[in-house]
Subunit: 696 residues, 2 copies
């Protein structure tokens, strides 16, 4: 893998001296970035590019070339790989586009490339990419002219699916004064993919943070497993989340859309920070340099009342609490006032206090409070203002040093922004002493990222398995159903499976005739529910095969007759069921995600499942904490509390059910889908009132 | 009002020569901005500020001063106002802080100020503000040193509650190359408020757009009325939307928090664009310079596949559609390809096409399509790239001219962004030829603002009354209730009021005894509902005074007995009601907002009203369009469609109900609150199954 970043010598296929030739830009970019190895341009026609003679006979290439970049038409890539193989080159960047993103998957040119690479044991990046930029080695393989002088050296590495995004990220990171080590554009990911690169970067001494731009996640389980083991932060900007985008994503890097709710859950479970734009990647890169944020409680402080209000809104938006501060402490701060003007609170308006001593006092004292986890500080800056405040902070470097010391001393983060002219904010950023965010809201967003990263990460490193932990234990009911050729279990069978795993289901029994009916009713007691029961029957409600709230024998017999008539030969078993009453209905289940495998689903039930799409996911198996988080994540989570005189839901029981549903999925690989809907809250206990298990 | 912006001469009270004096900064700011009138600093001690002699005897001030700025301690403001009055100064900016934002409302200093101003007929801005910046006259009254050379002259005017935000806005607008005419910091709004300034700016020739930063809206109805008449766009950044922020907002500019859902609705009804940050104000200011966006259909086009994907996600996020384009047209574009690489779609990936002719062809052709309303274009820029694409666009000005012409010719907007180094993006912006947004997502957000503004505005100007249109027609039922001393109507009375206005309610009749009960049941028919009925009874469910789904005489009599026993003397009337079945429940009602007055509320009903808070508001009276919009705005709006075999809801009937509820509120000023909950959908028709009217 090292050859992709630190090759001694490189060959560039597809070079030409003409004005429109693209491959020659690669030569230029490497030279201007200070790449010290030999560069061998290879092309059809004689000529020179940037002082390097074009090699027209590839057979004449010397041995010892460690990396090749290929930018020849798609149809010629395979034969170029053949040359590489014969010349001992085992690492190749295929920049050429025109493979699966243009034609259907598995087109001929693509197959030829894969074959040839396999034959020679070649590993390659791409096709359809701009390859690698490495600030240390000076390797810079984009085929568009690159402003290499603008790039900053540092310890963030970036993996991007799109070339345009990769190069824009290089610029934007540098403009925010974030230095990077390596940027990798992966294109179609036909051979090497994000998993390979993450692994490499996890062990790379030069890399401190790993950032990714992805349009698709193809190996979800692997991504989770590896990320959970990473001690370096992993940050992902996952686009292609809309139907609109997926049209172009597919033709662009052959990226299929993922279920975004599953992606969200999986990244959270993996301790990965998800961001929504290139700019947010830079925000996250900055904040990850701060001491970790161990909780949710901030002091918000600004030298302008207006920005204190804006900070306060941002704190609430991002789920922070600004605890009330002790009155004596606030009074001490108030004693620094000029005109006796501003009443102190949290958020804190420092608009009237223009002494650096007061600021120091307030910040240090706040950060020292045991119940305060960090600070959001919106400062102001301008040369005159700095002079006014005091010598100690009269220059950008002094000011940031002053703030850094307080943060380091307390071991707590300060999310710092300024109201000031942009040119001064740029000066402050350029010192690189302490992270400066672009505005108050951004500073709070950054703290949110830091909090969410920290909360999950610590725990995860101690317990980093989410793979195939559970053993497979086939359920007998499922085995029998498979033998009978069923692809779904009947409601009764489905609930038996659940009940065997300890999930509470409705009391019920299938009956074949009226005698059985009346006997069973005696056991269960009115009111009851009668349902047509057969693995072949879906949509029972619409076919009128469910009769609820039956209160006496007449109603029961009438319902039984209607149902057996309506079943129309598809079995004649009728399920007698206790009538569970409860206004609160949920849905819980298991689905198979193409990339992430078994996922547990939970949400509001009844009609609201489809109306509000209020469902959340977790990749199975679940930790107990995952289950508890899921309940808080649904929009309607308040329904779990005491509401309208109803008792609060037994959260432990509900968590058990979600963890168990995941376990059933992991232990029974033949299960494709579990659907418990509704899961009715009876009193405070969840009971599975209907369930369906679909087999593969 | 003109004197606040274009005074001939000004006096500044509170000036001193000492290094910490703040008022002297005002003198400096005006001088450095080129204010041409006389400036008279007034202070206690002799001395000079910036070459102006301090006047220690205010009686010696000449006549003919048109504006005073006061920055003396709060306790001395009233007597300073007295001096102003005697010197004929009728326009004053009170910069001093320390009034109601520090002490309670109506404190002594504040009362004295109001009295004195009234006595002399003085109008004032503030207190607790930084006053006015006017780029044309050079008036610049902030008391902190101001970088006046950084400010750009133009036609956007800004009204801000906070001084810090006002000055930061001045800088940020200028940095985005948006020139402004006037910036007004209002502070506590004790005398002049946003309504006064909006009125002035609507008639001000120099002002083309009116932007506001508000922490509270104190005159909601007036704001709506005036905004609806404005032919200039009004843009509002309303902060103080969280409980966290309201703590500091109140001590900062004495701003009370508004119900943010009502604010949202009201601004929409008024055709005001709501933005969420100072930066978004600049985005909005730029996009309002483009031709209007008449619909929802965009072509998204980028010179990078990755940014096409990002544009696509943004289009869907902001509610745009990217329609499929005719295949022949796409093929024509594809014929410009270099390597036959990229398949065209919408969003469109132009990554492989590097000719300006192709771009021109594509953009012009897309904009000419009847079913396309605008374009989101993410271009790239850099000197080498520009040279590669062609002479016509080889400089920033040429490139933007090229794009502007296409937009103007089609009369449709182009939301333009670049992937490029920031320094080039800044060069492009600085040309001021055509609005350039900072990234692709921002360009789509901008188009969203343009669309939302345009959709409401046109219509509104033709029909700009939302005030007290309806006549008052007291309901007899209400009159009688008031005479009896009731503060609420019983369920039966409430529904009678609704029914008299044509809203369908459950068939029902109050009965006093069992004979009445059985007779009434005969009229209504089983199943029925029985409820305890009295204006004194709230929370009927919890007190077990509601029995539903009663199917026979035995059940009816048992229920009747239980209810009368449970009513415990608070009346003995029992309401016999038809049992309306329907799984879909809504809530509709009327509330009184302290700032906006009567508002109609609509949302998901039953338990979900409180669980999901899925309710929306409109200020009454409602247009039919408002009612239809409300139904689409609730999160659960899908429930209105055909769902689970249920017919779609009769939207016209539902709209009638919402409009009518507003009318009832406008015509009966004694009504404080109407609560129809649940409004059950029976078949497809909404029926009021329970209702409560609260009187003042």
């Amino acid at each position: 893998m090292r050859h992709f970043f630190y090759p001694s010598n490189i060959a560039i296929f597809g070079a030409g001296a003409g004005p429109k030739n693209l491959a020659k830009n690669i030569v230029h970019n490497c030279l201007s970035m200070g790449f010290e190895g030999n560069i061998f341009p290879v092309g059809k026609n004689q000529g020179e590019v940037f002082g390097k003679k074009i090699i027209t006979d590839p057979e004449s290439l010397p041995q010892g070339i460690e990396l090749a970049v290929i930018l020849v038409p798609a149809g010629q890539v395979a034969q170029t790989l053949d040359i590489c193989g014969r010349k001992g080159i085992r690492s190749v960047i295929i920049s050429t586009g025109g493979f699966r993103e243009f034609k259907e998957k598995g087109n001929q040119a693509e197959a030829a490339v894969i074959d040839m690479a396999k034959r020679h044991g070649i590993r390659f990046i791409g096709p359809n990419c701009i390859g690698v930029i490495c600030t240390e080695s000076g390797l810079c393989t984009p085929f568009a002219p690159f402003q290499t002088k603008s790039l900053k050296n540092g310890h963030v590495s970036v993996i991007a699916q799109s070339g345009g995004v990769a190069s824009q990220t290089a610029y934007q990171f540098s403009e925010e004064h974030i230095g990077f080590s390596k940027i990798i554009s992966m294109g179609n990911k036909l051979n090497l993919n994000e998993i390979d690169f993450i692994k490499y970067l996890m062990d790379d001494d030069r890399t401190g943070q790993i950032h990714l731009y992805l349009e698709s996640i193809d190996h979800g389980r692997k991504l989770i497993d590896i990320a959970r083991k990473s001690e370096k932060p992993i940050v992902i900007f996952k686009s292609n989340v809309s139907r609109t985008a997926s049209q172009v994503a597919q033709s662009h890097t052959a990226a299929l859309a993922n279920n975004d709710q599953v992606v969200n859950a999986a990244l959270k479970q993996a301790g990965i920070v998800r961001v929504k734009s290139i700019h947010e990647m830079t925000v996250c890169a900055k904040v990850l340099e701060l001491p970790s944020l161990k909780g949710n409680r901030l002091v918000a402080l600004s030298l302008s009342g207006g920005f204190s209000v804006i900070l306060g809104d941002a704190c609430e938006k991002y789920g922070f609490i600004c605890p009330e501060l002790p009155r004596e402490f606030l009074s001490e701060i108030e004693s620094f006032r000029r005109g006796g003007v501003i009443k102190m609170s949290n958020p804190m308006d420092f608009g009237d206090i223009h002494t650096i001593a007061a600021l120091k006092f307030a910040v240090e004292k706040c950060l020292a409070l045991e119940y305060i986890d960090g600070l959001a500080l919106c400062f102001m800056y301008g040369p005159e203002i700095a002079r006014m405040l005091g010598e100690e902070i009269s220059h950008p470097a002094l000011l940031l040093d002053f703030i850094k010391k307080m943060s380091v001393k307390a071991g707590k983060p300060i999310g710092l922004s300024f109201f000031a002219e942009k040119k001064y904010i740029e000066q402050l950023k350029a010192t690189n002493i302490f992270p400066v965010f672009n505005d108050p809201e951004e500073s709070v967003l950054a703290l949110k990222m830091l909090r969410d990263y920290g909360l999950h990460k610590t725990e995860m490193l101690h317990n980093n398995v989410i793979g195939m932990r559970s053993e497979e234990k086939k359920s007998k009911i499922i085995d029998q159903a498979i033998k009978r050729g069923q692809t779904t279990l009947s409601e009764y069978e489905s609930k038996q499976v659940l009940a065997n795993y300890g999930i509470q289901v409705t009391k019920e029994k299938p009956v074949e005739n009226k005698t059985g009916l009346l006997e069973t009713i005696k056991e269960i007691g009115y009111p009851i529910v009668l349902k047509g029961c057969s693995p072949d029957i879906a949509h029972k409600t619409e076919k009128d095969l469910i009769h609820i709230d039956i209160r006496n024998e007449d109603e029961a017999i009438a319902a039984f007759d209607k149902i057996t008539a309506g079943m129309n030969g598809s079995g004649n078993s009728v399920l007698v069921q206790e009538m569970v009453r409860g206004k609160r209905e949920f849905v819980a289940g298991l689905t198979r995600d193409p990339q992430f495998g078994q996922c547990v689903m939970f949400g509001l039930g009844g009609i609201f499942t489809e109306i509000l799409n209020d469902v959340v996911f977790r990749v199975a198996p679940l930790e107990r904490r995952d289950a508890l988080e899921m309940m808080r994540e649904i929009k309607g989570s308040k329904i779990l509390d005491t509401v309208r005189g109803m008792a609060s839901v037994d959260l432990n029981m509900l968590a058990d059910i979600l963890v168990t549903v995941g376990r059933i999925g992991m232990e029974n690989k033949q299960i494709k889908e579990i659907d418990i809907n509704p899961l009715i809250i009876s009193g405070s206990k969840p009971v599975a009132a209907d369930a369906l298990i679909v087999l593969e």
